[in-house]
Amino acid sequence: FITKTELTEDSLEELEETLITADMGVNTVMDLMEPITEKVNKKQITNSKELRAALTDAMLDLIKPVHENKELPNKKPLVIMVVGVNGVGKTTTIGKLAANFKKQGKKVMLVAGDTFRAAAVEQLEIWAQRTGVQIVRHRDNSDPAAVAYDGVAAAEARGMDVVIIDTAGRLHTQVNLMEELKKIRRSCHKSLPGSPHETWLVIDANTGQNAVSQAKLFHEAIGVTGMVLTKVDGTAKGGIVVSICHDMDVPIRYIGLGEKAEDLREFEAREFIKALF
């Protein structure tokens, strides 16, 4: 973002604009800029290279601790429930995860927990076919909690390493649908105590400040243990996850960068920060 090396009046404002337009949120940006602005005024930061380094370090301090000691639990089957608002990329991400885990030599099973939306089950079935993994499904409009129960039971019975449960998109403000998620969780636990072991919230990189509200309410309802940031292959930067992971102490597990099975990458803090500004 900073093309000239010496700092001018505009350098700090340009930096603020870059961060805000990356969806980092005005309050997070102000908190990050305050100590840096002070250093600039005290001539402790004198050129753009130092400015960039200071900001990178500040952001790493926010993000890195959240990602330490957050390895996936050693459970068999590892039960992962995928949640999020409508259209963010849950089903597609599950397809990519299936391909990814399979590549690691794991036995994967998918559970078609979206029994509501038109052709949601068919969509996941195609991903199961594409990646060569098993899928558990019921009829349309069946109880998602029942599908989850059967899915986890089948995964256990068939010696799966990972079972991933797809859920219908829902707005965090729809109380009855958030209750439904709790019911699905309880169902998993009935089938396999302690499950789901991971609950991943999928966030679309195009989302603005509303992602904070999404994260808060999904976390309050069912406890989020990881996030996946999708559509990073677009022009949106997804900066909003910086404040979310910091506030909630929830790691970003993966980044989605496209619509194909291989378009998934493990989150890497430095690489992500570099792309933000």
Binding site: E17, G208, A211
Partner: protein, 292 residues
């Protein structure tokens, strides 16, 4: 709310005759924060604050309102004027059958909106025909076909082996044969930076010129709304916008950014997943929502 925040900022303004540049500076800081928190684009906010400042400075502090309320009133009017005042109806002239093309980023709500639009048009006495032209997303054609079946609206039997522009061409003929008068083309979600897919939209438009092209955008879109809206509009010259997922708690500042960068009207909003969750856009209600 912004009114409360401005209330405390302007507490010290009691008894002052006019809104001066100095005394509204802090008020404008609050307005700027509110707009940024609402996802209005950084540059759009800058332009807006300048316009509001110009309108506010020198105004007599009204008897009936506190200075804070007065600034909110000015901001509200400015936002409402920005977002309203253009032709809000869908353009159905100039084609037999008439046709509406839905475009936008992945997951914004196009397919669901296609069903809603069909129901809306049927309510207006038209005979809609749904045409799936998304040949990429798994089960996309099935999705729209199921929606059509549920709503008793005819759907063209698309298949993934045919090119989208060819599907549109063939559907146009079939649409008339079915006795329908309005085609709704549901295109695949795509990135505005995907040159190939943006070119595909151009080909569909050229082959079966639509009466209206509507950009379907998610109400929770952040700062990037200007980039994608500008790109889609530059490529397609859209007729208007449909803002979806307005039933959530997103402030919806993207509405302002999109309108500001394209000059195109927001015609409708999506307020849920069901086929009747479709309403006309009200600029004044949107302005209050954005301001929080």
């Amino acid at each position: 709310s912004l009114s409360d925040r401005l209330g405390s900022v302007f507490k010290k303004l009691k008894g002052q005759g006019k809104l001066s540049e100095k005394n509204i500076q802090d008020g404008l800081k609050e307005v700027r924060l509110a707009l940024l928190e609402a996802d209005v684009h950084y540059k759009v906010v800058k332009t807006l604050i300048a316009a509001i400042k110009e309108r506010a400075v020198g105004q007599e502090v009204l008897e009936s309102l506190t200075p804070g309320q007065q600034v909110v009133k000015i901001v509200n009017e400015e936002l409402t004027n920005l977002m309203g005042g253009a032709n809000e109806e869908i353009n159905l002239s100039g084609g037999h059958p008439a046709s509406i093309m839905l475009v936008g980023l992945q997951g914004s709500g196009k397919t669901t909106t296609a069903g809603k639009l069909a129901v809306y048009l049927r309510g207006q006495g038209r005979k809609p025909y749904l045409v799936p032209v998304d040949v990429y997303r798994p089960a996309a054609i099935e999705q729209l076909t199921k929606i059509g079946k549920e709503l008793s609206i005819p759907v063209y039997p698309s298949d993934t082996e045919t090119k989208p522009e060819k599907i549109a061409e063939l559907a146009r003929i079939k649409c008339a044969q079915e006795g329908c008068d309005t085609m709704i083309l549901d295109t695949a979600g795509r990135l505005h930076i995907d040159d190939e897919l943006m070119a595909e939209l151009g080909r569909i438009k050229a082959t079966t010129p639509p009466s209206d092209i509507l950009l379907v955008a998610d109400a929770m879109t952040g700062q990037d709304a200007v980039n994608m809206a500008k790109a889609f509009n530059d490529a397609m010259d859209v007729g208007g916008v449909i803002l979806t997922k307005m039933d959530g708690d997103a402030r919806g500042g993207a509405a302002l950014s999109i309108r500001s960068i394209t000059g195109k009207p927001i015609k409708f909003i999506g307020t849920g997943e069901k086929s009747n969750a479709f309403e006309a856009f009200h600029p004044n209600r949107m302005a209050s929502r954005i301001l929080g």
